[in-house]
């Protein structure tokens, strides 16, 4: 598919801030499954700082804005040609050992309920790939997709207890369960072409990646009960949502801020 993305993030500050610094993971990964035709990333009124590809293969750009400003806008526009790789992350160069993705984070602590769910799902699994599929299915079945009930700091354990959540919660739950079963797992962030209307979504998308020996990293999207295909664009990864965040930033002297995100992913006719 040829997917066109428009992603605008706007921060509004209640009182003008003295400046802001941002670390952006907002450039499509280099994989066999996606080829970037064009990509524009800009912080309005900002100065571009260092940029580099990190050990996990993500392209990171640093930006700073001098104040006073009362609004900050991060603008992304681009076109990516995607191919269905059945979820397998192929041709992606990275230096981080998969075993670095076995450690727990606050958001992905496996409590008794997650451990039990993982153990039950794992019962009778034939190998890593089957196990990962079973875990992903279990998450889909136990956490219903429902926006608005969870928030950014909700943990995997809390989401399972609630039985509801959004893609971030599904990914966290799957990561926690996979790690508990000894499979390295991580959080992937990106975009999803959801429907032909191209209507703006309220947020970007996220899913989990699980390491299976012999195959490598494989994406699982329990929120959509599938593995990422050519409707997905991958931006980057991390131990959890915070670590993989497309935007990490600090505004100097910010009291309160509000956030507005507009994402539109369209498919071009081929």
């Amino acid at each position: 598919m040829i997917l066109t993305v428009s992603h605008v993030t706007t921060y509004h500050y209640a009182a003008p801030v003295r400046g802001a610094v941002q670390s952006l993971r907002l450039t499509p990964s280099r994989t066999d499954g996606q080829r970037t035709a064009s990509w524009m990333l800009q912080v309005e009124g900002g100065t571009k700082g260092g940029s580099f590809r990190d050990g996990a293969g993500d392209w990171i750009e640093s930006w700073s804005v001098r104040g006073p400003i009362s609004e900050l806008r991060v603008r992304v526009e681009g076109t990516v040609e995607t191919t269905d790789m059945a979820g397998i992350l192929r041709g992606h160069r990275e230096h981080v050992s998969p075993s670095a993705y076995l450690r727990e984070t606050e958001a992905t602590v496996a409590d008794t309920a997650l451990l039990t769910l993982a153990r039950d799902a794992a019962d009778g699994a034939s190998g890593g790939l089957d196990l990962a599929h079973r875990l992903s299915t279990a998450v889909s079945e136990r956490i219903a997709y429902r926006p608005g009930v969870t928030e950014a700091h909700t943990t995997a354990a809390e989401a399972l207890a609630l039985g509801e959540g959004v893609c971030q919660d599904h990914a966290h739950a799957l990561i926690a369960m996979a790690r508990a079963q000894g499979l390295p797992a991580r959080y992937a962030s990106g975009y999803l072409f959801a429907d032909a209307s191209g209507a703006p979504h309220e947020a970007a998308h996220a899913w989990a990646e699980v390491w299976v020996d012999g195959l490598g990293w494989i994406g699982f999207d329990p929120a959509n009960r599938c593995c990422p295909d050519d409707r997905y664009i991958r931006l980057g990864s991390g131990l959890d949502a915070r670590d993989a965040a497309p935007i990490r930033g600090v505004a100097v002297g910010a009291a309160t801020e509000s956030l507005n995100v507009e994402v539109a992913v369209r498919a071009q006719q081929q």
């Binding site: 670390s23 260092g50 640093s62 001098r66």
Partner: protein
């Protein structure tokens, strides 16, 4: 239990050569004079304000660490061997760090378990694939060494992050020279006052490639409330560099800048005395108010050098320690000159069994502990203390290591009744940049309590001037 300890001054009834002149010095010292000098030393230490807890082990920050006037002495040949061993170890530790953040050959070769490296809390995924300038992660390596015999030295632990205490090494010498100038005329003692210049040169030598001028070096401190603040400002003064807090720095256009009265000035090398977690809220702890937002992006894109490099801590973990001799063999193809203390990893079931069967003979330490807290010294412990440790080991075996109780050497020390042997250790500070350098000396800590083997200042330890005699 009758254990014989190596006395560094007396070999049987004979005085060992390096201490020969000190024997006369002590013999000629009247008790009143000694008391007067001891008070003078204390007054000097108070005046310069050096009262911080050595090695950041907590305790009362305003408490003066006892200074013992009796120097600890090494001969030139003893020191040469130590120096070779220390430098060898510092090279191996840095090679290990470059490797585990790069290709991970030592793990692939099966010479160290994967989980000890990549599962280590101190392993920073964020710097994987990045090699710092000159391939140096740990620029100041503090290696804690104990002696058990004339030629027997053991490494207790490595400190690859920001080892503290070097200001004591320098101040102890300064004060000894001021109080006993004749001693320094009678003995030919290698000077150590070049330390600050060597440190500055070392830091300047690892400036990023993008730096095309004389590098600007700064020391980054958490602030005056930190227990080692004295040392931070002391070193900044000696090196003639700025002492800054995070608030004094900002990031723009791919570089780090320092606010000055003449406007922003680019910073090339940051000798940081704050932990990784607090360096940059955009990379590590988002709630950190101590850090410089965006610093890690500048670092990883080659705009600034951070010393020690973020992630260096994975080399000085107590569980990784066991494998340092293996690192020496693997990376340098040499046999380790300094020995490791045999260590049992309680996380391994066969080791745990041995440890539980031999608790009264062993020293048990927390893997992530420091400062002499939370450790068991078997031969000195009560039955209750030993039983309490048995429970701790059962509930979290991987959190502990055990070592044989070492017969730490003693050196003569001034005590209430006169002069008596007390146990000591040694921390030299090895500097790693374009070159590896070591000033002839280090910090000697002394357990002032009779019979005590714990030299930590929080447990009643003191410090001494450490001499290396010129040939």
């Amino acid at each position: 239990m009758a254990v014989s300890y190596f006395n560094e001054m007396f070999d049987g009834g004979r005085v060992r050569a390096p201490y020969a002149r000190l024997e006369d010095w002590v013999a000629a010292m009247p008790p009143e004079f000694r008391t007067m000098k001891q008070e003078e030393a204390e007054a000097l230490f108070r005046r310069i304000g050096i009262t911080f807890a050595v090695y950041g082990e907590g305790g009362d920050p305003d408490r003066l660490i006892p200074f013992d006037m009796f120097p600890r002495v090494f001969t030139q040949s003893e020191w040469r061997r130590l120096e070779k061993g220390i430098k060898q170890r510092a090279r191996a530790l840095n090679a290990f760090l470059v490797d585990v953040y790069g290709r991970g050959e030592i793990v692939k070769a099966g010479r160290i378990p994967q989980h000890l490296v990549y599962g280590n809390e101190a392993y920073e995924k964020a710097v994987a694939g990045f090699t710092p300038p000159k391939g140096v992660y740990s620029h100041i390596v503090g290696i804690d060494i104990v002696r058990t015999g004339p030629d027997d030295f053991y490494v207790l632990e490595d400190n690859c992050r920001t080892p503290s205490g070097v200001s004591y090494m320098l101040e102890n010498r300064e004060i000894m020279m001021r109080m006993f100038p004749t001693l320094f005329r009678e003995n030919r003692i290698e000077p150590i006052d070049s330390y600050s210049e060597v440190l500055r040169r070392t830091l300047a030598s690892v400036a990023p490639k993008k730096c095309d001028h004389e590098p600007t070096v700064v020391i980054l401190t958490p602030g005056h409330f930190n227990s080692a603040y004295y040392e931070h400002s002391f070193l900044a003064d000696l090196m003639g560099v700025e002492l800054v807090e995070a608030i004094d720095l900002f990031v723009e256009a791919g570089f780090v800048w320092m606010r000055t009265t003449e406007g922003p000035r680019k910073v090339d090398v940051i000798y940081r005395r704050i932990d990784d977690a607090f360096l940059d809220p955009l990379c590590f702890r988002p709630d950190s108010m101590l850090g410089v937002p965006g610093l890690m992006d500048v670092y990883r894109s080659g705009g600034v050098t951070i010393a020690s490099a973020p992630g260096a801590g994975v080399a000085d973990d107590k569980a990784v320690y066991t494998f340092v001799p293996e690192m020496v063999r693997f990376y340098l193809g040499e046999e380790p000159i300094l020995q490791n203390v045999p260590t049992w990893q309680c996380g391994r079931s066969e080791d745990l069994k041995y440890v539980l069967d031999h608790l009264p003979e062993l020293v048990v330490k927390e893997v992530h502990g420091s400062g002499g807290y939370g450790m068991l010294v078997g031969p000195k412990a009560s039955k209750e203390q030993i039983e309490a440790f048995r429970d701790k080991l059962a509930s979290d075996p991987a959190g502990y290591i055990a070592q044989p109780t070492l017969a730490l050497s003693t050196t003569p020390t001034f005590v209430e009744e006169g002069v008596a042997p007390r146990h000591v250790d040694l921390r030299p500070y090895c500097l790693v940049g374009e070159q590896i350098e070591l000033v002839p000396g280090g910090l000697t800590r002394v357990a002032l309590t009779e019979g005590s083997l714990v030299v930590n200042s929080s447990q009643g330890g003191g410090v001494k001037d450490t001499w290396v005699l010129a040939e």
